[in-house]
């Protein structure tokens, strides 16, 4: 910036200022005396005026007045008759009076002019400072990657930072002077008048806006508007900052859609569950009744008509009864199986050792007359639904008892295998008839049996029930075995409450 700077005037000391008055008058006097010697006349008057003006200009009013006084005395002493005397004749008084008046007038003009100039300089400096500050602020705004722009009350962009350029693709030269809503094709969530009213009332507004980049892509931004007012409280500009939340909105939208989908699925599942429940309910009611009738009337037949029926007929009746009873067991097991899925799990800390002993005494009658060696390892507490876990263990232990039946020295072992990544693994091992590992995947299916009914009775629902219970606890169940070498059933449950 070109400057003809007089710099902010350094204020000279009092001695310097008054010294200047004396010096300039002395110089003026010296020059006047020299010129008089050289026979120039009447130059002393302008010389003294010049000295006064210089003094006033550089040293101010006080020294100026001193210069006037000194000049008057010097003039009187050196240049008016009688020379070298301060005597002033009456006739010369007006002359002096005019001189002093004129000098004072000059002094006054110079002082005013000086003051005006000083004020001007000062306000110029202030302005320069302000400009520097503003420039610095503007370049600071440019440093940030946040999108910031300023628009006036008629929506014309007056400032556009680098963040704005980065987000919207318009350069400052392109953006400034345009109407921002047109340039960015802003879509407002509410009528613009309402937003403007809100802004004027609160001095600020926040909301989500949809805008368009220079390449035509839409962005969703979190927008904050701040109203700038001048000293008369009249709104003059709006500072708008934008944050690109397109990704976040997209994420939110996806989450919302997923939730909606999930909600729909849940409703569907609930409906299916209700249907299943109704189904199980009607099985419970309606399937049992005909069975009861089959059994009932066959027994009545056995009782009343056995004399007229031959052995074959009696065997048929026995078969009918057995089949009906077996069907009754199947229905009961199936209902129990379906109930696991429907019943609400009641979680608690289950003492597994206690539970195993309870289960053992419950299945004891199945082992009647046989001397089973039980090996019970230390067992941890589990977290789960006690009655469900009990049902699972009843199934597993009664299986162990059932399939060790051919053994002269049956052994059943229950223990806790090593904990695997936060899961407790429990195993039930027997030395029974075992199974072929190639059928291991069939073990847990409903109605899947690996033995003929004559060998081992059962409905084929027990292990399916076990699997369902363990899965409801967030665990898994699996088995290892060899034909005639026993079987081991494992189940895992999370060691912590879900």
């Amino acid at each position: 910036m070109p400057r003809w700077k007089l710099s902010s005037p350094k204020i000279p000391s009092v001695i310097q200022r008054y010294g200047l008055a004396i010096l300039s008058v002395v110089i003026g006097l010296g020059i006047g005396l020299l010129l008089e010697r050289s026979h120039f006349h009447d130059v002393e008057f302008p010389l003294f005026l010049l000295a006064i003006v210089v003094t006033v200009w550089y040293a101010g009013v006080g020294p100026g007045i001193l210069a006037v006084v000194l000049s008057s005395l010097a003039f009187d002493f050196f240049f008016t008759e009688p020379v070298y005397s301060f005597y002033v004749s009456r006739s010369e008084l007006p002359y002096y009076f005019v001189f002093i008046l004129f000098a004072l007038l000059l002094t006054w003009f110079s002082a005013v002019r000086r003051r005006v100039e000083r004020d001007l300089l000062q306000s110029r400096d202030e302005l320069e400072q302000e400009v520097a500050m503003r420039t610095q602020q503007a370049s600071l705004l440019n440093l940030t990657h946040d999108t910031i722009f300023v628009r006036d009350m008629s929506d014309v962009i007056t400032y556009w930072n680098r963040g704005a350029q980065e987000l919207y693709g318009w350069r400052a030269e392109e953006a400034i002077g345009k109407r921002s809503h047109d340039l960015l094709r802003t879509v407002f969530p509410a009528p613009l008048d309402d937003i403007a009213a809100d802004l004027l009332r609160n001095g600020r507004w926040e909301g989500e806006l949809e805008k368009t980049k220079s390449d035509g892509t839409r962005v969703v931004v979190a927008s904050r508007w701040s109203l700038q007012r001048n000293e008369q409280r009249i709104p003059i500009a709006i500072l708008e900052t934008n944050n690109d939340i397109t990704q976040r909105k997209r994420g939110e939208e996806e989450v919302r859609q997923l939730n909606q989908e999930l909600g729909k699925r849940t409703i569907e599942l609930e409906a299916i569950n209700k249907e299943l429940e109704a189904f199980a309910y009607s099985i419970s009611h309606d399937l049992r009744a005909p069975l009861r009738h089959m059994v009932g009337f066959t027994e009545l037949l056995q009782k009343n008509a056995s004399s007229v029926v031959d052995d074959k007929g009696r065997r048929y009746m026995t078969t009918i009864l057995e089949s009906a009873k077996r069907m009754g067991t199947l229905i009961d097991d199936l209902l129990a199986f379906s109930r696991i899925g429907r019943a609400e799990a009641r979680e608690s800390i289950v003492n597994l050792e206690e539970l195993i002993n309870e289960v053992r005494s419950e299945v004891a009658q199945e082992a009647e007359g046989r001397n089973i060696t039980w090996k019970l390892g230390p067992l941890p507490d589990l977290c789960g639904d006690r009655s469900m876990l009990k049902l699972a263990l009843v199934n597993l232990l009664s299986n162990a008892i059932k399939f060790t039946r051919p053994r002269p020295q049956p052994e059943v072992e229950v223990g806790c295998a090593e904990k695997q990544n936060g899961r407790i693994v429990i195993f039930i091992r027997d030395n029974g008839v075992g199974f072929d590992m190639k059928y291991a995947n069939k073990l847990f299916g409903v109605f899947q049996r690996l033995h003929r009914p004559e060998e081992f009775e059962g409905t084929g629902i027990g292990l399916a029930t076990v699997q369902r219970i363990i899965r409801r606890h967030g665990g898994e169940v699996w088995a290892e075995g060899f034909v005639d070498k026993g079987a081991t059933f494992f189940f895992s449950v999370p060691s912590q409450r879900r």
């Binding site: 309910y281 009611h285 049992r288 009744a289 009861r292 009932g296 009337f297 027994e299 009545l300 009754g328």
Partner: protein, 150 residues
């Protein structure tokens, strides 16, 4: 001879009716059984309505109630009965095929006196019916106002 209470049976399935009556016959209880085939008929009996308009006064000593019934189901009959000042004293035994917990809970909440699941096994069924009949018609002192027969 002891006093015999009258048994009101509500059962829509004729085969169940027959089996029940057969079971009660052995104790000569079957003559005192009134059979109604749905909830509405049972309520008609209790309120002397319809074809029971002219029946003698008095309440049954016990009501054997199936839950799954046409028109008015067992739980509705139970609710109606237990909310009526004159009928609420009649002992009610739910006799049903349902082992569902919600049926049981609903029945007890309505104030049922016993809940019996019909056993699939005939012997058990007969025994259950006999014991019920003997207990409610003979052993139990029926509330005042019940029909009794020497």
């Amino acid at each position: 001879m002891e006093l015999l209470g009258r048994i009101l049976m509500v059962e829509d399935d004729p085969k169940d009716v027959e089996l029940t009556l057969t079971a009660l016959e052995e104790y000569n209880l079957s003559n005192e059984v009134i059979v109604t085939h749905d909830g509405e008929e049972a309520l008609d009996y209790l309120y002397h309505r319809g074809k029971f308009q002219t029946r003698a006064n008095g309440n049954p000593a016990v009501l054997l109630l199936d839950l799954k019934l046409p028109k008015v189901d067992g739980l509705e009959v139970l609710q109606q009965l237990k909310s009526d000042e004159k009928l609420r004293m009649i002992p009610v035994v739910v006799l049903t095929s349902s082992r569902e917990e919600r049926d049981m809970v609903a029945s007890y909440k309505l104030g049922v006196n016993a809940y019996v699941v019909k056993p699939v096994d005939f012997h058990e069924f007969v025994n259950a019916i006999k014991e019920l009949g003997v207990f409610w018609a003979i052993i139990n002192e029926a509330p005042p106002g019940s029909i009794k027969k020497k």
